[in-house]
């Protein structure tokens, strides 16, 4: 019989992007005007045929549950599938125990109920189209206990700085260390794991590993102590780690270039998201738009350049938006100017007001701000 695979989306290592992720986790933060970050990882499960999807939530439960709802958006068969948002209830009483390992342990009923043989765990803040089917195949063929998905990059000095770097030999992970940023070339872990259920149970019931308070560290320990067969799988496709506001802005704008975007939006790899039943984008007679993503529900009458405009954003006549990300439901009145800024949801930039940041340090405008 085929091995039963279930998926976990691990939100415990979600980076803090300052005020942008104050009231929401990065996983449910708006991306490219149309998506939430977690849509990409969840669609990886869907497109790989993994129907049992569980979200390990650390905090900001509201914004996660608002986005995923009953998760029907990402499942193939709505009866066979199992979808859960998993909270570590013990962690509410004792925040220091609120770790991904504890969350998995508290919710290990999922493993029994699904009769899982193997689990796939991935984070939401690394955007990467990953097909788990060949990885699972290799995992079983190599008879590994754990498979770590990694990517070879040439800018490790300025990206994936919160991730681990692997030393890989003949498909095996020989050692794991933090990315010190000292070298440009590195094999960085995508914090994406295939783990046999027996190995996972062993980890969850080892008081020594639980003390490490993170799955990432527990896997590193297994490698260090050679106590498990840890296989390495190289992902050759697109991957970006959204770990700072600057990266959020840079990596968003980078996708305006079709040559980059075509590696993320693959033809046979649709990205599913929640429908908001928004009408199409309405451009007025005086609209001037260049090199931008614009979401449905937006009404554009002004000038927009090198920017990302989200749902239900209204841009008045003569307003100028450049190199900026405008989030859902924000009003930019006629004549206002917004450059190098991230304007959060439901804000209102009134007539002739100006917001100007720098390319290397964009201004962030908090949700619901009235900018005069």
């Amino acid at each position: 019989m085929a091995n039963k695979v279930i998926g976990f989306l691990n939100l415990f290592d979600s980076p803090n992007l300052g005020a942008l992720t104050e009231k929401r986790t990065l996983a449910s933060t708006s991306f490219l005007g149309r998506f939430a970050f977690m849509d990409f990882a969840l669609s990886n499960f869907t497109n790989s045929g993994i129907d049992s999807i569980n979200v390990l939530v650390k905090d900001n439960f509201r914004s996660v549950s608002k986005h995923v709802g009953n998760m029907k958006t990402w499942v193939n068969n709505t009866k066979i599938a199992m979808q859960n948002i998993l909270v570590n209830e013990k962690g509410i009483r004792s925040p220091k125990d609120n770790t991904d390992l504890e969350c998995l342990l508290q919710n290990d009923w999922v493993l029994y109920e699904a009769k899982a043989d193997v689990v796939v765990i991935q984070p939401a803040h690394i955007i990467s189209p990953i097909d788990f089917r060949p990885i699972l195949e290799e995992h079983f063929e190599s008879d590994a206990d754990v498979t770590v998905v990694y990517k070879h990059i040439e800018n490790a000095d300025e990206s994936f700085r919160l991730n681990n770097v692997l030393k890989v030999k003949d498909g095996k992970v020989m050692s794991v260390k933090k990315n010190s940023g000292a070298s440009k070339e590195a094999d960085v872990s995508l914090e994406t794991y295939i783990i046999g259920v027996n190995t996972l149970q062993m980890i969850l019931h080892s008081s020594e590993l639980l003390k490490l308070k993170s799955l990432k560290k527990a896997v590193a320990k297994l490698v260090q102590e050679k106590s498990a067969r840890v296989h390495a799988y190289e992902h050759k496709g697109f991957a970006r780690c959204f770990d700072s506001l600057q990266h959020f802005v840079d990596y968003s704008f980078e996708l305006l270039d079709y040559e980059v975007a075509k590696d993320l939006f693959l033809n046979d790899w649709p990205i599913y998201t929640v429908t908001h039943n928004t009408p199409p984008t309405l451009y007025g007679p005086s609209a001037k738009v260049k090199n931008s993503f614009v979401a449905n529900g937006a009404v554009v009458e002004g000038k927009v350049k090198n920017s990302i405009i989200s749902r239900y954003v209204t841009i008045g006549k003569g307003a100028v938006i450049e190199d900026s990300v405008i989030l859902t439901g924000t009003y930019i009145d006629a004549g206002a100017v917004v450059k190098n800024a991230v304007v959060d949801k439901y804000s209102h930039v009134v007539k002739k007001a100006t917001i100007e940041g720098k390319k290397t340090s964009p201004v962030y405008v908090e949700q619901g701000t009235l900018v005069k």
Partner: protein, 377 residues
């Protein structure tokens, strides 16, 4: 449990005047307004009116439409006490027969209506563009204790001879029905939207089915028969945007009505504060290119524009290449306009392919339909 009002949407027609657009799909499934299909409008109206049971009657090219309707989930009509069902001609004890007319289509599904046991039946057309709720119409129907309430649209009197016209007394009670009258005495055009008391409707449907001379049509047979018997029939005057899109040029015009530059209407105005529900495609974000220019247009997610788009309505997955010009046109799902091509005063069918330097449409004032696909596709 008895339902207050069940909706029956007539979606069986071919829509011959839409030419190639309805060659493989029924008219209600034709793409509209960059994101929608025509039938999204009556279905969303039902959802927004709190109607829970909807039957969609179909005949011509029913498979594609049935697939689209599914269990009504796209319009939220799949909740615990909701039911969306597609009703097609079926084989019965008496044999197999096609729907012979609008009234016959309902008559053939009288067992379905009996099982719902509604107080009222709302008869809708699957090919009208309008956003409303039927609450006001039902309220008037109840106040008048009417057997039938017909929604009417006020048309200019000089155009009235193109419509089925209702003549009413001062209390809106219908006294006469004139089908395309040479000398109309009223400007109230029937919209083909009816609320019937189900008991009364049932009786007339059964009688009509027995009449070999009947064309089994609501407008031609049922309404005149009820009028003749002095049933309580009232007109409900509809306010707001409403379009029956029968031809390529009226379909084009209705699309253009959604734009901001259009006087009085645009998509936000037409939707009247209600949402229009539709299929959500897993599209990429809509992208407007570095050298593109886009103005006075309605564009859906997944479209990629590198060229110039002016006064147009563009569906998902459309690509307009650099140097191409699209003006006063409707581009349906997946249409491609290649480099330096010109599309003007045209409707491009889904997945239509306009090759490099090709010119589609002209300034003759006629809207052309272009449906050529890429060779080999």
């Amino acid at each position: 449990m008895a339902e207050k009002m069940v909706a029956m949407i007539l979606a069986g027609g071919k829509g011959t005047r839409l030419e190639a657009l309805t060659k493989k799909i029924a008219k209600p499934a034709v793409s509209f307004g960059a994101k929608y299909r025509i039938i999204d409008f009556p279905l969303s109206n039902c959802a927004n009116s709190g109607i829970r049971t909807v039957g969609v009657l179909m005949q011509y090219e029913s498979v594609g439409l049935e697939q689209y309707i599914g269990n009504g989930e796209k319009w939220g009509l799949n909740g615990v006490r909701s039911l969306t069902t597609t009703l097609t001609p079926r084989q019965t004890d008496e044999g197999l027969s096609w729907f012979k007319g609008t009234a016959d289509a309902i008559y053939c599904n009288i067992d379905f209506l009996d099982s719902c046991n509604p107080e009222y039946v709302l008869i809708l057309s699957g090919d009208h563009i309008y956003c409303t709720t039927y609450d006001g119409m039902l309220k008037e129907c109840e106040e008048h204790n009417a057997d039938c309430t017909i929604s009417v649209y006020q048309v200019p009197i000089e155009e009235a001879s193109r419509f089925g016209i209702l003549v009413t007394d001062e209390k809106q009670r219908i006294v006469e029905f004139q089908e395309k009258p040479a000398h109309p005495t009223s400007n109230l055009a029937s919209m083909g939207i009816y609320i019937f008391k189900y008991k009364t409707l049932r009786k007339y449907l059964v009688e009509d089915a027995k009449n070999p001379k009947s064309s089994h049509d609501f407008g031609n047979d049922i309404i005149p028969a009820m009028l003749k018997n002095q049933k309580r029939m009232y007109a409900y005057v509809y306010q707001g945007y409403w379009k029956d899109v029968g031809t390529i040029s009226s379909l084009h015009q209705a699309n253009m009505d959604l734009l901001l530059s259009t006087e009085e209407t645009n998509i936000q105005e037409i939707s009247n504060g209600n949402k229009i529900y539709s299929e959500d495609t897993p599209s990429r974000p809509q992208y407007i290119g570095k050298h593109a220019s886009v103005s006075d247009s309605l564009i859906n997610q997944g479209a990629v524009i590198y060229g110039d788009v002016k006064h147009s309505v563009i569906s998902n997955e459309v690509i307009v290449s650099e140097g191409a010009v699209v003006e006063n046109s409707v581009l349906m799902t997946g249409a491609r306009v290649k480099r330096n091509a010109v599309v003007k005063n045209a409707v491009l069918a889904p997945f239509a392919y306009v090759d490099r330097d090709e010119i589609v449409g002209d300034d003759s004032g006629k809207i052309v339909l272009y449906s050529k696909k890429k060779a080999g596709k």
